[in-house]
């Protein structure tokens, strides 16, 4: 398993988790103050190109954090799938951004910096925070009138620049680094022209820093981000044995129990061909090809913490392949239907189905061994068996729901 981010809720009690966040906030506030973010004229000066301190701190921080995040992901220290990447709500994000820009130039702060200004007793900062509290109040009272715009306009989910430009992560990292260095250089030129600052007085070490950034970015691109195969190989020693011991294959009876368990958010993924799916599938099972699974990992991880995934194919081969992909990509609580659809039908076929489907058809591994005379889909009793059938069955319960490790909400909650 990739060690970071830490599974905080599993390691610490709630109080400990909160102390950690308090500590991170402390460091954040300390650094903001140290960088001069409690001084509103400095924050505003960047918009007149006179003093680009804030601009410089900001873009340097983005590049440093980005390089460290993707470097640690490249070497298998940090699981990028499990960290919060702000989902894209394009239009509300842009409109909100423009409004924030207005607030920035009028007020001379942003929320984080105003808190630091308040903490250091800047009266203008205190007024900004009061205004900020009022703005939050206004939003809460007005959001109901544009809920649709707020929740849907330009919603794309977890989308990164890599997805938008269809470039490998390493390439984007290099481009962002180069762009930031160019902007910082440009910023110094603007300061020279508009602010009368002499860039020659700035420490020479910044050239070394820029070189280190570029070298690191190129190294990240060279190593590359871990593929699904890499990720599986890292977990294989532990997970392969458990898989072979049958720890993740659940009996049809346990699945039926789960279908009737309203506390769980059950997601059944049927990875067979569409033809087989149309002949027969479980009620509410979703048809998805194995090739499509890697594209849906973000959606799977974003599901609520009580989500259980059950994969099924005709026997187990295709489902197991899909299981490996999902487990490698850190999707929690993934199981396989033992014996697949064939075993399900063996267990739950009623007289109704026997009219339309004959068992005992010859078939290779992972082929449907029932002969359907009509495409029943989920329109027959075996697709949604009576829960009472479970009472006569004996099976070992294998599902152990694990706590969700990925954060379910982002920075501005």
């Amino acid at each position: 398993m990739i060690p970071f981010p830490l599974h905080l809720d599993a390691i610490f009690v709630k109080f400990g988790v909160y102390l950690i966040f308090l500590g991170i906030g402390f460091l954040f506030g300390f650094v903001l103050e140290t960088s001069g973010f409690n001084h509103s004229p400095t924050l505003a000066a960047q918009f007149y190109f006179k003093d680009l301190r804030v601009f410089k701190v900001f873009f340097t921080a983005i590049v440093v954090a980005m390089l460290l995040i993707f470097a640690s992901s490249a070497i298998g220290l940090l699981d990028f799938n499990l960290i919060w990447v702000n989902p894209t709500y394009l239009w509300s994000g842009i409109v909100g951004g423009l409004i924030m820009g207005v607030g920035f130039i009028l007020g001379g702060f942003c929320p984080g910096t105003s808190l630091v200004a308040l903490a250091t007793l800047k009266i203008d900062g205190i007024f900004f925070v009061l205004g900020g509290l009022f703005g939050v109040f206004l939003f809460g009272e007005t959001v109901d009138s544009f809920t649709h715009f707020f929740n849907t306009s330009g919603y794309f989910g977890r989308v990164t620049l890599m997805d938008v430009f269809n470039l490998p992560t390493g390439m984007i990292v290099i481009l962002v680094t180069l762009m930031a260095i160019f902007m910082l250089w440009g910023g110094e030129q603007l300061e020279r022209i508009f602010g009368g600052k002499d860039p020659k007085k700035a420490p020479k070490a910044r050239y070394t820093g820029a070189a280190v950034f570029v070298i690191l970015a190129v190294t990240i691109a060279f190593i590359g981000q871990p593929t699904t195969v890499d990720r599986w190989e890292r977990q294989a020693p532990e997970k392969q044995a458990a898989l072979e011991a049958g720890e993740f294959q659940i009996h049809p009876g346990e699945l039926l129990d789960t279908i009737h368990d309203s506390k769980l958010n059950l997601v059944m993924l049927d990875v067979r061909s569409e033809a087989d799916y149309n002949l027969f599938h479980l009620l509410d099972a979703e048809n998805i090809t194995i090739a499509e699974i890697p594209n849906n990992i973000d959606k799977f991880i974003a599901q609520p913490a009580n989500t259980l995934f059950v994969l099924m194919s005709n026997d187990e081969a295709a489902a197991t392949e899909a299981w490996k992909i999902m487990v490698a990509e850190s999707v929690p609580n993934v199981y396989i239907l033992e014996g697949g659809i064939n075993n399900w039908l063996d267990t739950f076929t009623t007289e109704f189905e026997s009219e339309y489907c004959a068992s005992g058809k010859e078939g290779a591994d992972d082929e449907l061994r029932y002969d359907f005379s009509a495409a029943l889909g989920s329109g027959c009793p075996a697709a949604y068996p009576n829960h009472e059938l479970v009472h006569d069955m004996e099976f070992e319960k294998k599902i152990k729901m694990e706590l969700k490790r990925a954060p379910s909400g982002g920075g501005c909650g």
Partner: protein
């Protein structure tokens, strides 16, 4: 050390710093590296980035819930924070925001920058500055709620994780401010 000697000691220190016209604050690039490190540590340990406006939002929800709990249970956006028995302060982001205040205070104290003052452009009165600070704060957090994050939660955190939407929001923030800057230049120059 008594308070009085501490104050006089600080004033001398302050004079020395401003007298040389050197930087009372850290070098911008150094500050940026430190901020980047903090952001990275946050992602590494918690899987979450930094944020500020979410904390403010929950402070307000907490106060509103004290005054009008029934109202909180009718607006879906507010229910998520303070519906029923839910305590809006019971969130990691509140801890981060509270930490920011403490951290800023400590750093300001150590460096002698914690003092009552109003920072403003040379051509406006304190009162004008306060009014615009209030109005600016209102605009900013309204926009931040709409965009689901402010300069910290969207631009900084989303920027570092290369979120497409966060980069769009980041350019919108700077774009909006630069576009308006000329028209309000009296405020700052």
């Amino acid at each position: 050390m008594t308070t009085i000697t501490q104050t006089t000691g600080k004033t001398g220190f302050f004079k020395k710093i401003f007298g040389r016209e050197s930087q009372p604050y850290a070098n911008a690039y150094l500050g940026g590296i430190l901020l980047g490190l903090v952001l990275f540590i946050s992602y590494l340990i918690t899987g979450n980035g930094l944020g500020a406006s979410g904390g403010l939002s929950r402070y307000v929800a907490f106060i509103e819930d004290l005054i009008a709990p029934g109202h909180m249970d009718r607006v879906p956006y507010l229910i998520a924070m303070a519906g029923g028995q839910r305590n809006p302060l019971d969130s990691w982001i509140v801890m981060v925001s509270t930490g920011v205040i403490i951290g800023g205070f400590v750093s300001g104290l150590i460096n002698g920058r914690t003092k009552f003052e109003t920072n403003k452009g040379p051509n406006i009165s304190n009162r004008t500055r306060w009014i615009f600070a209030f109005v600016g704060g209102t605009f900013f957090t309204y926009g931040a709620r709409l965009a689901r994050g402010c300069t910290s939660g969207q631009a900084l955190s989303g920027g570092a994780t290369l979120s497409a939407g966060s980069w769009a929001t980041m350019f919108a923030i700077f774009g909006g401010a630069y576009a308006l800057a000329y028209f309000v230049r009296k405020l700052w120059n």
